[in-house]
Each structure stands twice: as C-alpha cells, then as structure tokens.
C-alpha cells in the first residue's frame, strides 16, 4: 500500500522508491506544485487588463483588417466606371478551382474595328479558396482581394457574382 501511494505521488519518477521521509516530501512538493499553478490562475483572475478576448459581433465598427487580408476577389473600378480587365483569361487559367469564368464579347469601335472586351467576369465565391494566384497572375492589376469576410447567404446562387459593374468599360490605354 505504502509503495503504491509513493509511486503515485512521486514528483521525480513514478518508479522511484523511498521511505516515509521521501513520501512526505513528495506530498508537500505535489501540493506546492498545485499552489504554484493556482497562483498564476488567481493572478489573471484579479488582473483584468491582460484580457485579450474580442467581443466579435459587437466590435464590427472598430474591426480593422490588414490590407493584405484575403476575403474575396473584387474588380477595381474608377470614378468613370472604368476597369482595367482586358479579358486575357490569365486569372481563369491560374485558378485551381475554376472559380473564375470570363465571358467575352466584341466591341465595335466608331471606326468599325472589332475589339475583344469582357462581357461578364463571373466569380464563384463558393468555390474560391483565397489562394491569391489570380491576383498574382493578372497582368493589368484589374482584380484585387477585398477585406470582406461575412459571406454567409441563404441562397447558394447569391455567391456567384459578376465582378464588372453594369455599363462599365475598359480604361483607355490598358492593353
């Protein structure tokens, strides 16, 4: 019985033997180790400054995300509703999950010349893994990552987005 208890409370190794003195020592060391841990717990119980928990839905107004945070792919439009996408499909080829589908059309210029342009830039957010490969692949920096993150919707089809705004056209000079 004595040996059994001893092995249970030994602080060095469960197999180490020893007499009554060792046994009492082990009991005291064991209790001390518990108190040392409890002291740390009590320290944080009384020092509320160290609390780092964020109250998420309540702190929406003050949430700041790093500019590189990958939330979703968006197309940048300037004030004239113009974008920089030439429809080269580099992003479509770079994407591992077929998230992007570019539908092109032919614009006819006043001189009667045909020019390729995007009709719809379809982006499937439900397939996107935010790997950033499309952004890196884009030669004209037409797309970028936005810092949005609350993507839940009731209808799956809502996650399929058309990134070019209605009526937008390609910026002059972007080839």
């Amino acid at each position: 019985m004595d040996k059994n208890l001893n092995s249970k409370n030994s602080s060095s190794s469960p197999s180490s033997g020893g007499g009554l003195v060792q046994y009492i020592k082990d009991v005291f060391n064991g209790v001390k180790s518990l108190l040392v841990g409890l002291r740390r717990t009590m320290y944080y119980f009384t020092h509320h400054k160290e609390i780092i928990t964020e109250q998420y839905p309540d702190n929406r107004a003050t949430l700041v995300f790093p500019e590189r945070f990958k939330g979703e792919v968006v197309m940048t439009h300037d004030e004239n509703n113009e974008h920089a996408c030439t429809g080269c499909t580099a992003c479509e080829l770079a994407c591992p999950n077929a998230t992007i589908k570019i539908i092109t059309k032919f614009d006819v210029s006043p001189e009667g010349k045909k020019k390729k342009a995007i009709d719809k830039f379809v982006y499937h957010l439900e397939l996107c893994t935010m790997c950033n490969l499309c952004i890196v692949a884009c030669p004209t920096d037409a797309i970028k990552m936005a810092q949005t993150f609350e993507h839940s919707v009731y209808n799956r089809a809502d996650l399929t987005k058309i990134l070019n705004k209605p009526g937008s056209k390609i910026r002059e000079g972007v080839e």
């Binding site: 469960p14 180790s33 518990l34 790093p66 590189r68 770079a94 591992p96 893994t129």
Partner: protein
C-alpha cells in the same frame, strides 16, 4: 477487421472512441478492445476525411497544387507549402534569392511555435485542464496576426511559391516578430508553472506510453515522438534544406521515451525556434523575394523528392514528372500517419484513461493522416 461493437470470443469488450470524440481532435475512429480497463488492442479506422489530395494534385499545375497541401497538416501549412515549393525548385533548378530563403525559414519557425502552442493547450485540455488552452491561444494569436498581415491569411496562407515567396514581408513584420519574442519570453515560465510542474499532470504523463527507440524506428515514427525516445531524426539537421545548415540550434533529444519526454521535447523545441528567429530577424538580406520563373512551369522528366521537418515530424513530397505541366504522380509522406501506427504498440497493456494522454503527445492532426 474486427466487429465495431460487442464482445470478442474470449470475453473482451470492444468499444469505439470517435469518429466524433473531443479527445481525438477530429474524425479519428479508434476501435479499442479492452479487458476491464486494460487495453488489449487499438485499431485506428481511417477514411472519414479522405479527400484524395494526391490524385487531385495530378490535375493541377506546379503552381496550383501547393495550396492544397495547406489543407493537410493545417497547423504547419507553411512548412508543407515549403516542401512542395522546394521540390518544384529542385526540378526546375531555380536559385532562390537569399531574402526569400530567410523569410521562408522565419515563417517555418513561427509556424512551428504556433503549432506547438496549440498542441500544448490541447494537450492540457485532453487531461482536463481548460485554462492552459487560453494561455496558449494568447501567444498563438500574436503569430496569427503576424501571418495575417504579411500573408493575408491566418491558417492556409499559400505564401510559398516556386522561386520564393508570393509577396514581400510587410513593413511591420520585423517589429511585430520582435514584440512576439518579447511576449513569448515573458510568458513561457507560466507554461511550466501551470502544467509542466503540476503533480497531477506529471503522474499522468511519466511512465505512460513507453516507446523504445527500436520500435520508434521500425514504426517509422518521426518528429518529437521519435526524439522523445532518443532517436535523432531532425530533418533540419540530418538533411539540411534552405539555410538550416548555417544556423545555430540544437536538436532536442530526450531518452525516457514516455509521454512526458515527448512533452518536454516540444516545449524545448519552441525555445530553439525562438533562437533561430532571433538569429534571422535582424539579418534579412536585401534583394528580390522571388526568383524569375517562367509563366508556365514544366518539370523535366524524372523523379524529385524533398523532405522537410514539420511540427509533427518528417514530411516528404515525391513528384514523378513526365515532362508536362502537371505532375504524373504525387506522393506525400505525412508524419501523422506513421506516428499513429505506433499508438497500438504504445497503448497495449496500459489503462484506457491513459490513451488520451498518449494520443495527445503524438499530436495527431487528422487531415494530415487521411489525406
């Protein structure tokens, strides 16, 4: 294959732990044969989170397949990506700029600390102590914030690309890492106070789940579980990659081979990672963060292998190329799978209550086992 419920012919009881069990950290299913409280046999059943990642990679190009490996061992995603990037660079014979190499090693070691922090919290939680989990997450959160700022994500970064890293480090990176080192050093003593010295914890860990060095080798165990048995297997030392052969750090070895030895290996390894980060953080060389590579990567015909040390053990990438833009075959050697195979051997003859402690010290990540 045994029956999943009921009794065996000689009267032993068969019980199931998992696939939904808080102590298995995921969908691990253990079919355990017990005689009273003594474990006779542990049989892991896998396949609940199999996504056939190896097959998926065969249809992705050499740039695209790297992101998938973040979804295997999600706690050391940087290191997995690093292995894949190195393997592709092997094939392409690309010289990686010095700046990219240093950034990669910094990211690897930060990931290793974050992974061990989480393991420490989860380990204590498995044994019934809930407080340490929050202490561990406090420090880990700082690393996650650093990752978020530089890589744009907290867990699945996809930051390592063939030829270097995807983006240059954020201007705040160095300062924030230094702040983290300061925070870590002021808080690490709490870990010992709360858990390591605790008598209840020690009694549940010492002498439990013994794994001899011979068995560790024959089961293919690697990483901290093998080093806890005294097997020298740190890939950073034995097969140095990147700039690890120029760095000053020790390979942590413990000889007891029990759960507590495996625990101490990880605790001491975190300090070594801090040492590596301290050596590099002020010495990031100037220059490019990415080497110039072709738009379409094509590996020459042949077979390429790269081993790295993740937080859990040795991770291997094996690419067979036929000369095309996609790999012909990819094989991942994940550390968790081999480490799990030793669980049956370790657990036989011990009590059911100790199984959780053993599983905890193996640091199993189920998506890594079940690719």
């Amino acid at each position: 294959m045994v029956e999943e419920i009921g009794r065996t012919a000689d009267g032993n009881i068969i019980i199931n732990v998992g696939p939904q069990h808080p102590a298995t950290h995921g969908v691990l299913h253990l079919v355990i044969t017990i005689n009273g409280e003594t474990i006779i046999k542990v049989e892991p059943h896998l396949g609940y989170i199999h996504r056939s990642i190896e097959k998926m990679c065969e249809s992705l190009t050499y740039r695209q397949f790297i992101y998938v490996t973040s979804r295997m061992d999600y706690l050391s995603s940087h290191i997995n990506n690093h292995a894949c990037a190195l393997c592709v660079e092997n094939g392409l014979q690309v010289e990686v700029p010095a700046r990219a190499q240093v950034i990669r090693v910094l990211m690897d070691e930060l990931t290793r600390i974050a992974s061990h922090e989480l393991w420490w919290g989860a380990m204590a939680m498995d044994l019934g102590a809930f407080t340490p989990f929050f202490h561990a997450f406090r420090e880990r959160e700082t690393i996650n914030d650093i990752m978020e700022e530089t890589c744009g994500a907290r867990l699945t970064m996809n930051y390592m690309v063939p030829g270097g890293v995807m983006q240059d480090i954020h201007p705040n990176f160095q300062q924030r890492v230094k702040d983290f080192i300061k925070l870590y050093k002021s808080k690490i003593s709490e870990y010992d106070e709360l858990v390591t010295g605790n008598i209840i914890f020690q009694n549940r860990m010492k002498g439990v789940g013994y794994l001899s060095p011979e068995d560790a080798v024959s089961f293919g165990v690697s990483g901290p579980p093998a080093r806890g048995s005294g097997v020298s297997c740190d890939t950073r030392k034995t097969y140095p990659y990147e700039i690890y052969n120029q760095l000053q750090f020790e390979e942590i070895l413990e000889t007891e081979g029990d759960s507590f030895a495996r625990y101490m290996v990880r605790i001491r390894e975190m300090n070594q990672s801090i040492k590596i980060i301290e050596q590099l953080i002020d010495n990031i060389p100037e220059g490019d963060f990415q080497a110039k590579t072709k738009a379409v990567l094509k590996l020459p015909k042949g077979e390429f292998l790269q081993k790295v040390e993740t937080a859990r053990g040795q991770f291997g990438v094996y690419i067979v190329s036929e000369g095309g833009t996609t790999p012909y075959r990819i094989k991942f050697r994940s550390p968790g799978f081999s480490n799990l195979s030793a669980l049956d051997h370790m657990a036989r003859g011990s009590k059911l209550g100790d199984l959780v402690a053993m599983m905890g010290t193996l640091d199993l990540v189920i998506p890594d086992i079940d690719r």
